[in-house]
Symmetry: C2
């Protein structure tokens, strides 16, 4: 549903999303300006409004796409028959961290509180999908010994929170710098601390 291949400019919607991510990567979310975005695509300042009603809308769309990508990447390990249930959950956590490191700008927008505030329905749906994939994996791993003594309602925030937080730590230049994370740790080691792959 994303390819309205034909319109005056080529495919402005897609171009806007890509250019926005590029800008954010270089200058941060706050520096993103709809007018500059339009200008750098050679289009008038109000053209983006045909595709995104507001700046928040554009950011929401970026995050929705990002969650879809992330869900896909993580889901690839959800049913791997070569892995135990614990190893699957471990792989999912590591994959999520790796994805964040490879897509810093998108991840940065995902964790931006101001975007959360204006989330639209599409974003909430994408997040719900992501959540469902993990909930299943956690439940399965739990029955194989993943903190089976801890209450279930704590397990979910722990797994997602740890994964998100570690990714945030590694991608935030201030934290990574000031906290003296000189040598970037192996993501495998980090995932092992969240979910030990052995029983």
């Amino acid at each position: 549903m994303n390819d309205k291949a034909a319109y005056h400019h080529g495919n402005l919607r897609k171009a806007l999303l890509e250019e926005a991510v590029t800008t954010i990567e270089a200058q941060g979310v706050e520096a993103l300006s709809m007018r500059q975005l339009a200008a750098s695509l050679g289009v008038s300042h109000a053209a983006p409004r045909r595709h995104f009603e507001s700046k928040g809308d554009l950011l929401s769309a970026i995050v929705t796409d990002a969650y879809t990508e992330l869900t896909e990447a993580v889901f690839a390990h959800a049913d791997d028959p070569a892995l135990s249930r614990l190893e699957r959950l471990n792989a999912m956590s590591r994959t999520a961290i790796d994805w964040a490191l490879a897509n810093r700008a998108k991840f940065q927008v995902m964790t931006n509180p101001d975007v959360s505030r204006f989330a639209d329905e599409a974003l909430k749906a994408a997040l719900a999908d992501f959540s469902a994939v993990l909930a299943k994996a956690i439940t399965e791993a739990r029955s194989d010994g993943f903190h089976d003594d801890a209450p279930m309602e704590a397990l979910f925030p722990f797994l997602i929170g740890s994964t998100v937080g570690i990714a945030k730590l590694l991608t935030d230049p201030l934290m990574a710098g000031a906290l003296n994370i000189a040598k970037e740790p192996q993501t495998g080691d980090l995932a092992d601390l969240i979910v030990s792959p052995e029983e």
Copy 2:
């Protein structure tokens, strides 16, 4: 160094910081406007500039103060003789999560990537202090069995990342909502998952 008790308005700097936190709590960081801030304190639009050179400066100051407060709260458990080393680290993690829940607006600004980008020296110093307190506690706990098989450079990001991420999850309305964290888990249970208090 924070109490320049006498000036025209009373203590504008402090008033600005407090009013800013209040506004952020209600409307988010993006909605914060220097001019509105000035207006709501009954002061001309350029008055804040005598105390904060830019909007980023004000946010930086909020975060610096916040880290100082957080460090103090966490540090209270660093040498508690009634606790084992593992229990201390556990208490520090739980305290940090509790602090974030009790100071949502400040925590939100702390984890805002745009603030990180413009961090000044005072902020970096505050973060370094925070980091030092934790590094010591982690090293001690490790020698008492806290993941002593994992590489040290992974342990640090794991502990801070998990704590920050869980706090973020619980304080972000979008994540907490869409991830179906219906019943807020006990922070104690969460801290136990990060650092088991028993050997």
